[in-house]
Homo-oligomer: 349 residues x 4
C-alpha cells in the first residue's frame, strides 16, 4: 500500500502515519520526493482497508499495489480451476452452454424447453422460480412449485439445473433441488446471502452487478470462497452505461481481464448483456472468441408468450444455430462444447 502525503504535510503528520502503519502490523518504507512524501506500507495488506490511513491528517491518497482478494486471485493459484458439475466441467477445455427460460412458467413450458435446449447442445438448464422484478405488481415466480418442475425437467433430460437464489432464507430449499445456485446481479453485494452460500457446498454462478467493478465482483467471490465453498463461476452479464440502444453494455473486456486476474471460470450471459434476441448470437460468439468458459442463454419455446424477458429470449431453432456457431469458434480456441449427461428418456416429448 502506498500512502501519498499532501505536498504541505508536516513532518509530524508523516510521523503519525508511520506510527499508524506500524500499529497495523506493517513495515514502513519511506520515500521523500521533492513534491511529495510517499510511505510504503508493506506486509499482509489485503485485510487492511485503505480507509485505515486515508483519514489521517496530511494524507492525500492511499493506493493498493496488491490485490485485496486472495483466494480468487490467480497469483496464489496459477492454474485454472476446473469445476465439476454433474456430467461436465467448467473452466477446462469444455465450453459450457447453459440455457433455458427466464422464468419457469408451467410444466409443459419447462419440459419442452429442456428437451429443445438439450437437443441443440446445451449441457445445463436454467430457469427462474424466484424472480427479482422491478415492479411489485408483476409475476414474481412460481417458487417451490417451479423447483419441482425443474427437477422433473432434469429427470427428463439429464441436464443439471441452474436457479437463482434471492435470499439466504431460500437456501435450504434451494440446495435440496438445484445443481448450481445463481446469484443475480442485484444481489452481487448481498453479503449475507454470499456468506450463507459460502457455507453450503453447492456450485455457484455469481453474476456481476449492474455497476460493479471487476474488482468488486472478485471480492464478492472472495466472500463465498472464504466460507469454504470453492465451486464458484463468475458471470459477465452486461453493465449499465449511458448507451440505451441495448439493455446493458456487454463488458467484453471483462472476459480476458478476469481470465488474467483469477483462476475461476468465466461465463457470459449474452441475453441480459444485450437485451435483444437479434444480438444474442453475435455476442455469444464474441464471448467465446474472447476466451469465456461458457454461456448462459435465455431460450423460450414461444418468446412472444413469455411472462418475462421474451424480448431477449431465443426460439429453440435460433438457439440451435447459435450453438453450432459457438462450437466452431470453440474449436479455433482449442476447445469443445461440453455435452450433457446421457439422455435418460422417461417418456417426455
Amino acid at each position: 500500500m502506498m500512502i501519498i502525503m499532501k505536498s504541505n504535510a508536516t513532518p509530524q503528520q508523516v510521523e503519525m502515519v508511520i506510527a499508524a502503519v506500524r500499529e497495523a502490523g506493517l513495515n514502513v518504507h519511506l520515500s521523500q520526493g521533492v513534491e511529495a512524501t510517499v510511505i510504503g506500507a508493506i506486509g499482509e495488506t489485503h485485510s487492511i482497508p485503505t480507509e485505515r490511513f486515508e483519514s489521517l491528517d496530511g494524507v492525500d491518497t492511499v493506493q493498493r499495489i496488491t490485490q485485496p482478494y486472495k483466494l480468487a486471485s490467480r497469483q496464489f493459484h496459477p492454474e485454472n480451476t476446473v469445476l465439476p458439475i454433474d456430467g461436465f466441467t467448467v473452466g477446462g477445455e469444455e465450453i459450457a452452454v447453459i440455457a433455458g427460460p427466464c422464468s419457469v412458467e408451467s410444466r409443459s413450458q419447462i419440459i419442452e424447453t429442456a428437451l429443445a435446449v438439450k437437443e441443440a447442445g446445451a449441457c445445463a438448464l436454467r430457469g427462474g422460480v424466484f424472480k427479482p422484478r422491478t415492479s411489485p405488481y408483476v409475476f414474481q415466480g412460481l417458487g417451490e412449485e417451479g423447483l419441482e418442475l425443474l427437477a422433473e425437467a432434469r429427470e427428463a433430460t439429464g441436464l443439471p439445473i441452474v436457479v437463482e437464489i434471492m435470499s439466504q432464507v431460500q437456501l435450504d430449499l434451494m440446495v435440496k433441488y438445484v445443481d448450481v445456485l445463481q446469484v443475480g446481479a442485484r444481489n452481487m453485494q448481498n453479503f449475507n446471502l454470499l456468506r450463507a452460500i459460502g457455507e453450503s457446498r453447492t456450485a455457484v454462478l455469481l453474476k456481476r452487478g449492474l455497476s460493479a467493478t471487476i474488482e468488486e465482483l472478485l471480492m464478492s467471490a472472495e466472500y463465498i470462497l472464504a466460507g469454504g465453498n470453492s465451486r464458484v463461476m463468475l458471470c459477465e452479464r452486461g453493465i449499465r452505461t449511458f448507451e440505451t440502444a441495448t439493455r446493458n453494455t456487454t463488458d467484453i473486456n471483462a472476459i480476458p481481464v478476469l481470465k488474467n486476474l483469477t483462476h475461476l471460470p468465466v461465463i457470459l450471459d449474452p441475453s441480459h448483456s444485450t437485451g435483444h434476441a437479434d444480438y444474442v448470437a453475435a455476442i455469444a460468439r464474441a464471448g467465446i472468441a474472447a476466451g469465456a468458459d461458457g454461456l448462459i442463454v435465455e431460450v423460450h419455446p414461444d418468446p412472444a408468450k413469455a411472462v418475462s424477458d421474451g424480448k431477449q429470449s431465443l426460439r429453440p431453432e435460433k438457439f440451435a444455430a447459435m450453438v453450432t456457431q459457438v462450437g466452431q469458434i470453440a474449436q479455433i480456441m482449442g476447445r469443445n462444447l461440453a455435452t450433457a449427461s446421457e439422455y435418460q428418456k422417461t417418456g417426455w416429448a
Copy 2:
C-alpha cells in the same frame, strides 16, 4: 403504453398485437403513420410489464406514457407526505439532519458522538451495526451489541436512531431497537428485504442504488408502500459514474426531480455522495438549496481512528459549522431545522 411497430410490420402482425393488447384488458387506439404504425394500449397499464408486448412479431419498441408506480406517485397523492418520527417530522417545513458514525465501534464512541451531534443540531442519530463491506476480511459491525449501544445513546440524548438493515432475517431484531430502518444502496433491489419491511410498520430510509435510476428507486419504494408501510423516505447518496475525483457523483438533479414525481420526503447523504470530508458541507448546503427535506451525515469524534469511512466523516466541530450554514439556507427556503426531542439527561458525558 405506445407500441411502435417496425416499418415493415405486416397487417397480420398488427392484428396480433391488437389482440394481445385486448387480452391484457386494455383498450386499443390505432395510429397508422406513413413511416410507422403505433398502437396505443390504454387502461390500467402500471401492472403490465412492457415486455408483454416487446417480443411480439413486428414490434419495434414499447414505451410507457404513464408511470409504472402508483402509491409513490405525486399524481395520485399531490400533497407532500409529512412523516412523523419521534420528536420531529420529515417532508414538511422542518429540515431533518440525521448524523452519526458510519459504524458503532464502542460505547464511548457512540455516546460521545450522539451528544455532540445533538448539541450541534441533529435531530436523529445514525450508526451502523451490520456493515455491508466489500471485503470479507474487514470489520463487519458489532451486531446486536451495537443496537444496545445505540439504544443507550438514544436514552442519553433523546435522539431517535437510524440503522441499516441488511437482510430480512434481521428484521425482528431491528424493529425492537430502531426508529428508522435504513435500506442501503446495495440492497435497494433486494426485493425480499423490501417486501419484509413493507409488512413492518417501522419508518424507512431507502437509499438509491449506485446505478439505480430515479424510476427504479421509486419502484423499490412502491414495494414497501404496497406492503402497507407508508413511512418511507428516499435518499440520494451519489451514483456511480466515470468521474474518480470523488467517491460517487452526487445526483443533485435527483432532488427536484424526485420532489416533482413523488410526495415522499427526500434526504441527501453528502458523506457517501462525495466520499470526502472536505466536500460534505458544500454539498449539504447545495442539497437543501435544491429542495431536499433533510440530510444524513457521517460524524465521528476522531475520523482518523474510525474503523470505516473515516475519510468522509466530519469532526463534531466541522459538523456544527455545517449545520449552521444549512440552517441559513433552510431559512431562505422558508424552512427551519427540526429540533430533537427534549434532552433527557441521564448522566452521560
Copy 3:
C-alpha cells in the same frame, strides 16, 4: 413523432400543439387515453428536432418513432456499402486489418513497422502525425514531416495510409497525402470538421466519441454523407464507463447494433478499447466474431520506446499471431482477410 401530453394538459394546450404540428408541415393523429393524450406527428420528421414541440405548454415528452438519420440508415439503403480503398474493400466479404504505430516517430520506425504489419497480413497502415494529447506539455506529432514519412512507407509497402485529422485547417494538406482520413473520438462532434470532410472525396474512418451514443455516431456520419462524401467507415473504439480495469469499455454490442441500423462498414479498434496489449488479441477476435468488417490495431516495433500508447501497442510478432487467429474467425464467418496491394519493393528493409 409521438407528443405525449401531461395528464393535466388542458384542451387548449392540446389544440396549440396540434396547430404547431400542422405548422411544421406534419399531419396529426390524435389519441386520447384515460391517462394521457398522445398526438402523433406524421410525415418527414427527421429534419424536425423534437425540441420544436418539447417546450410547448402541456407537453410531457416527445419521442421519435423513426430515425433522425437517413443517408446512413439501412432502412433506405438495405445493402451493405462496400467501400473500395486502394487495393482492397471494406464492408463486403473482406475483413480489413489496419495496423501501425500510434505516432509516426521517425523514418526507420515507420518503415520498419509498415514492412512488419504488411508481412503479418495488414492491408493498410495507420500512423498519427497530429496527435490529440491531453497535456500541452507532451509530444504533439511530427506534422507534415510525418505525412512524408508515411508516404514513403506506403511506397515501400503498397499499403494505403490512414491518418487522423484534427482540424478543418489541415484538410488540404491531408488529402494530398492520405488514403483514409481518420476522425478521432474527441472530434466526433466537431461539426465544422465533419462538414469540411463531407465536401472532400477522401475515404473516412469515423471514430465513436468516448461518450457518444450509437445514434449520435450515425448522426455524425450523416454530416459527412450529407456533404456528398459517401466513403465513410464507422469505428467502435471503446466508451467511457465506471470500470477502470481497462482504459475504455469495448462496446461489443455496438457492432451488431450498427450492422443492423446502417449499411456502412464497421471497424473495431481493440487497442484503444482495451488500452492494454495483453487484451488486444482477445478483443480483436471477439470483434470479428461479432460481425465487424475490420480492425485498426496499434503496432510498434518496440512498444517500450513508443512516444505514445506503448502500453496498448503490439509487437509485430504478437500482431502476426493475432492476425492468424482473426483470419480463422473470419473464415467461420464466411469471410477472409483483405490482402494488401502488391508489394512494390523499393529497396527498404
Copy 4:
C-alpha cells in the same frame, strides 16, 4: 510518479526501469516490498506522460502523485484568480449571472431578451450564432449576422456578450465582436481550437465535456493558459451518466473539487446540466450554495417558439425569480451578485 512492478518482475526489468527513469531526467527512489517493488520517479514529472514507463517490461501500473497541470493548479497559485470582464469580475466576491437565449434568432428576440435579463439582474448576455447541432438537417445558427445582432444588444444594454466558438477558423471574426469566447462541451478537447484561443487575449468560458474528468477539464484549461491567455473560467454543465430523467447529470461535486484544485473561477450551467426549465432554479441555487462563482442560464422570451433548447429555457419572469433566490444564497455565502455596467440607453424597448 510511482512505478509499481509486477510481482514476478525480474531484477533486470527493475534495472531497465530505473535506467529509463534516469534517462527522463528524474531521480529514482527504490522501494522493495515483499509483494511488489515500487520505483519512485522524482522531479519535474508533469511534462512526462505516464505511458513513458507503462510499457516497459515488468511494469504493472504507473501512478502520478502530483498533478499533470501546473498553471491551472492552486498549488502554484494559492489565491483565487479574479477575472475582470467589462463592468464586473468573476472569481472574487461577485457572483456573475450570464443569461440569454440558446441561439440568436432575430433582432427583436435578442434585444428583448437582453433587456429582460439585464432588468432581472444578469451581468452578461449569452447567445449562440454557430450552433453545434447533432443533426445536419436543423438550424445551425445565424453566423456573423448573429454577432452583429449581439453587438447591438450589447450596445442597448451595456451587457458584455458571451458567444460559443466552434473552430479556430472563426477566431478572428469572433474576437472582433465578443467579450467572452465560450468553448462548448463537444470542443473541450479540440486542442487546435484551445491552442488558437491560448494565443488570443479574449476571456474564455471553457465548458466541461460530456464525459470529461475534472482532471481533463483542467488539462484543457492548461492548453489555453500555456498559450499565454490567463483569462479562463471553467464551466460545469452536466455529465453523461446512465440516468435519463434529466438531459445530463449535474456534477455538483465538481464545484467544491474544482475550487480546491484550481484558482480559476467556476461557473455552473444549470440549463444544460438539467435540460428542463422546471429544475433550473433549484440547481442554480444549489450551485451557488456549493461555492460556484457564477451561473450561465438559458432565457428566452417565448421558449415554445425557440429554435433550440426551448425545453430548458426560462421565461424572463421565471429567470427574475431565480436571480432573486440566487442573490439570497449568495449573501449567506458572503457574496453578492455582480451588477451590469451602467445602462447605456440608445432608444431600444
